[in-house]
Symmetry: C2
Subunit: 210 residues, 2 copies
């Protein structure tokens, strides 16, 4: 079967594809050229049947008796996830977190490039952070529009997150990665994902005896 229309594939499956991609690239770095659902599953602690079924949504990528050509599978997954091109991304918030994000080298080779760093504070505007000069939130809308940027990372205080998100959506952003520890509401056509380390820590402590 060839690639389905996106809407028919469960979101939970989509969420695992980046993990497969990440693990495959690592196998590649280790010099491997072929792998199997079993080997991959062992690394990821996911059953081999799960991996085969997930991948089968997008077509038969493997060879019976042999397994998967890693390079081929990496290409296919990058295609499916639309990271066979480079997405321009903006960071909003030039506090410690925004600065750390702006310095992070790990976006480059996985499909993302930071294009701008914004902040609202007059003290921060104009400051040089790595390769970026902090720009005013005031000009954010215009820049995002002009450059057709579709993705933003939100690293502002929780109180400001909804307001900034509204502005980003208004400017045409279609995906927001929110680092602020608060839920924000966006239109249905805008993707939102959350990163909040504390929720992960609290998830772990449930299982830790006191």
């Amino acid at each position: 079967m060839s690639a389905n229309s996106p809407s028919t594939i469960p979101d939970i499956v989509i969420g695992r594809l980046p993990l497969y991609l990440r693990a495959l690239k690592r196998l590649q770095q280790e010099g491997k050229t072929v792998t199997s659902s079993h080997e991959l599953g062992k690394r990821l602690e996911i059953s081999s049947a799960q991996i085969r079924k997930d991948l089968s949504h997008f077509g038969g990528f493997g060879k019976q008796g042999t397994g998967y050509q890693i390079e081929f599978l990496v290409d296919r997954l990058q295609e499916v996830l639309h990271v066979n091109k480079e997405w321009m991304v903006v960071v909003v918030g030039a506090g410690n977190l925004g600065i750390a994000i702006s310095h992070y080298r790990g976006f480059q080779d996985r499909g993302f490039r930071i294009a701008h760093l914004f902040d609202i504070s007059p003290q921060k505007i104009g400051e040089q952070i790595g390769e970026f000069v902090v720009q005013p939130v005031r000009s954010m809308r215009e820049i995002i529009r002009r450059e057709g940027i579709k993705i933003a990372m939100l690293a502002v205080p929780a109180e400001d997150a909804q307001g900034v998100a509204d502005q980003l959506v208004e400017a045409g952003v279609q995906g927001i990665l929110n680092y602020a520890p608060i839920n924000i509401n966006v239109p249905a056509n805008v993707q939102i994902q959350y990163i909040d380390p504390v929720t992960h820590l609290q998830h772990m402590t449930y299982y830790l005896a006191e």
Copy 2:
């Protein structure tokens, strides 16, 4: 029904509790004292039935016709998640990310306090980062043991993550929040959670037209 033994409650339910807790605290900050599964669900984009069912695993926390006393529910959830005390946490890796984590103010009032910051690089050791002096990984094991620390945040390069995780487990750590973009293997009795912004970005781009 009163609190069950942890093992009988689905992990997926546990994963939502921190989100409920976060949203409830925000409602509290907004001055509310009572809420309903419907109101909470609207904020979180989770169905009200789901919220009621999740909470019912731990006892009847609400009142029919009225809803939930926010303060009471916050206390119960903190109890269930074991964050009614403060957990000491160490950070390993004093690069940009480790530094940002060490500066982050948001752990304090949600159950966690950073106790130490470690790095392996001689240039970094001794450096003052906020309120911490970077300590050598060499002395990590001894310090974790002595202070009975159970949780670590890993912010080292992917290549070093497995090795450091092994040392942490050896030292008695029972939960690791791994920021390195790589899967690591730990014994079954050790909790592990991952934070990798790129996997979230790639999840979003699947849904974004090119």
